[in-house]
């Protein structure tokens, strides 16, 4: 395997370009909502009020669209995204029909009775409790949505089956969607966001994982070929809470998922997994952010992607920020890509910022391997036919993520979906 590997395990602060100035709140970010000024202290360096700097801590956050300038494509967080293909998500008012939301149990069965599903308007107190837009497209959706779906797993309730939130796109007009998931104290649940159909949507998903709760959120993007989807999925992690997020992007023309986890109390444990399979012409982007803002939390990140076909493009950016307060942090992030054919491109950028030396450990790794003729020859020389050899490699590679889901029906479905992707490339 031709491979570029970057590995680091760091036990002491060693941060390029990090400076400790600018602890004051930026006027743009301060005091606009429950989150602003708390865990999302913004700060600016020299460049004037509210200009985001290269540290993730300085990223602008605001509930107001007007606080985000028009996109040019040169912004750090948009530089890989083909804006032309956003179909107006960054320029239009998002007034189209949002995808429909239906909450069920696995395979269309009744939703577990304990789970509470509400449709609320913008004034609901839970809106803004766990998330705040970090880019223009997310802010546009925040400004445009008229009602939100709130899903609550009541305190001390352990759901016996998974909850499936079927999100079905029905049109291509630019639209906005808002979802809130609240896992109350000591609850335990698996929630699947199952995206299908055709759409142009900017989506904000707020995930409030309260003290001692254990929540898994699996977001599956299996859109039709023409769908455009930007999704900010922000989780706030309470004391001793456990959060697992699995982002699976398979279908859609442009899918850009930005999951984040912010520790608000000590003792939190976060796992962020991702799987993506881009075929010819697809742009699949994943940018995650883990914000270690408090002591003694643990995070693990593993994203794996396969690419096949002309102009298949994937982007993975992993921002992990270990703030000065976050002593005792234990963090590791990795991204692995497997390029199956020529003409595909995988961008992979791990960003680890460490502001304190008093941590358990922090590290990152990024590899991009190529499945080439030598691998194929090796497997075929053992009697394995060509198509099966490719299947074997891709299935093996991605299975590590699929098996994290632990919802058997969904694992099976995704395994099949991956094989279809593979077959569709008629290799």
């Amino acid at each position: 395997m031709t491979e570029t590997t970057e590995k680091a395990r760091i036990g002491a602060p060693a941060i390029d370009g990090f400076s400790e100035e600018g602890e004051d709140l930026s006027p743009v970010n301060a005091g606009q909502g429950p989150l602003a000024g708390a865990s999302t202290k913004g700060h600016s360096h020299g460049g004037g009020v509210g200009v985001p700097d290269s540290s993730r801590a300085g990223r602008r956050t605001s509930y107001q669209l007007a606080d985000f300038p028009q996109l040019t494509g040169r912004e750090e967080d948009w530089r890989f995204t083909p804006l032309k293909r956003l179909r107006g998500l960054h320029t239009e008012a998002l007034t189209g029909a949002a995808p429909t939301v239906t909450v069920t149990g696995p395979e269309g069965s009744e939703a577990p009775s304990a789970v509470k599903v509400e449709t609320v308007d913008r004034s609901d107190a839970r809106i803004g409790s766990a998330g705040i837009p970090e880019d223009r497209v997310s802010a546009a959706a925040w400004e445009a949505f008229t009602e939100a779906t709130v899903l609550t797993i009541p305190a001390e309730t352990e759901l016996e089956t998974g909850v499936v939130v079927a999100i079905e796109g029905t049109g291509t007009e630019a639209s906005a969607q808002h979802l809130v998931i609240v896992a109350e104290r000591f609850s335990k649940a698996v929630v699947v966001l199952d995206h299908k159909g055709t759409t142009t949507v900017s989506q904000n998903v707020e995930i409030d994982v309260r003290d001692g709760a254990e929540l898994t959120v699996v977001s599956v993007q299996e859109w039709n070929d023409d769908a455009v989807h930007a999704s900010s999925q922000q989780a706030k992690i309470g004391r001793d809470a456990k959060f697992k997020h699995v982002a699976v992007s398979l279908g859609g023309d442009l899918v850009r998922v930005t999951p984040s986890a912010r520790f608000s109390q000590p003792g939190g444990d976060v796992e962020l997994f991702g799987l993506y399979f881009a075929d010819a012409g697809q742009h699949l982007e994943q940018r995650l952010f883990v914000d270690h803002a408090v002591p003694n939390c643990k995070s693990r990140v593993l994203y794996k992607g396969a690419l096949q076909g002309e102009a298949a493009h994937t982007v993975w950016v992993g921002d992990v920020l270990i703030r000065k307060e976050a002593e005792g942090t234990d963090s590791y992030e990795a991204n692995r890509n497997l390029v199956l054919t020529d003409g595909a491109r995988a961008d992979s950028v791990p960003n680890l910022e460490i502001e304190t030396g008093l941590i358990e450990g922090a590290g990152h790794a990024s590899t991009t391997g190529r499945f080439d003729d030598e691998h194929l020859f090796y497997l075929m020389a053992r009697g394995i036919p060509e198509d099966e050899a490719r299947r074997l490699v891709v299935r093996g590679f991605l299975n590590e993520i699929i098996q994290q889901i632990r919802v058997p029906e969904l694992e099976e479905r995704l395994t099949e979906a991956v094989e279809r992707e593979l077959a569709a490339g008629n290799l």
């Binding site: 395997m1 497997l338 391997g369 499945f371 003729d373 030598e374 691998h375 020859f377 090796y378 497997l379 075929m380 020389a381 053992r382 009697g383 394995i384 036919p385 060509e386 099966e388 074997l392 490699v393 891709v394 299935r395 093996g396 590679f397 991605l398």
Partner: protein
């Protein structure tokens, strides 16, 4: 008995400087039950012969033939050759990302036999073969060759030889990079298959060291893309003493 028959084989590769002829008329007949050693200096074309038999796409056969019991091997795809009973233990086995040894071995065995092996006996066979080759049990869960040392990779090649039971094994410098203990372990692995019968071996090597453990019936000296001399085991002893010097053009002598 099966026969692998190589006749007047001419093989070339495409290089940046154009076509380069590497094999310049190789003829060799191997029957099951026989062990043939091919010895020769670096760059003489030994690996080229091995890879050509296995069907590596880099090598073009310009003329000559390879047949297995009369069947045209050159007409077969790489996987068909393996299923016909040819096995190449590679000089540099590649790392295959994403595929565990367990999964790989089972998939290959299924492909080779045309049916899945019986799970219980298969698991037992794999375990036993691994322990005989002193391969740590947790290698089963690791990806094929990924991060294996040179010696570990070679053992894993022989593990496959034991499990797949081919008609013909071509071992391309399986001995290189092995210490004496590993060399013994690997040789014993080959010999177990050999003694079970029905295996023909083409043992490619640089050194006579391995021939103390795997006793060849025939020795072929390979120089500049051709067989320069053939004989019995005594030829190996002579090479041990004299080296390849007498086969090389004067200019190339050290």
């Amino acid at each position: 008995m099966s026969t692998l028959d190589i006749k007047d084989l001419h093989v070339s590769i495409e290089t940046e400087q154009g076509k380069k002829e590497i094999l310049k008329g190789v003829s060799l007949t191997i029957n099951t039950g026989e062990i043939h050693a091919i010895m020769g200096p670096n760059g003489s074309g030994k690996s080229t012969l091995a890879s050509t038999i296995a069907g590596h796409p880099r090598y073009t056969v310009d003329s000559g033939s390879i047949t297995l019991d009369g069947e045209d091997v050159l007409e077969m795809s790489v996987d068909e050759r393996a299923r016909a009973g040819l096995f190449l233990a590679m000089q540099y086995p590649v790392e295959v990302p994403g595929v565990t040894m367990t999964n790989f071995l089972r998939t290959a065995k299924t492909a080779l036999d045309g049916e899945a092996p019986k799970l219980r006996t298969w698991t037992k066979d794999v375990k036993e073969a691994m322990s005989q080759l002193r391969i740590d049990a947790d290698f089963a869960q690791r990806n094929v060759n990924e991060g294996f040392s040179g010696g570990e990779k070679k053992r894993v090649e022989i593990l496959q030889l034991e499990l797949f039971k081919p008609k013909f094994a071509i071992m391309d410098e399986t001995d290189s990079g092995l210490d004496v203990d590993a060399l013994k372990v690997v040789s014993e692995g080959h010999n177990r298959v050999h003694e079970a019968g029905g295996l023909g071996t083409l043992l490619i090597t640089h050194y006579t060291r391995i021939l103390r453990y795997i006793k060849p019936d025939f020795v072929h000296v390979f120089v500049d893309g051709k067989i320069a001399e053939e004989g019995g085991p005594e030829l190996a002893d002579r090479l041990e003493e004299e080296g390849y010097d007498r086969f090389l053009p004067t200019a190339a002598k050290a």
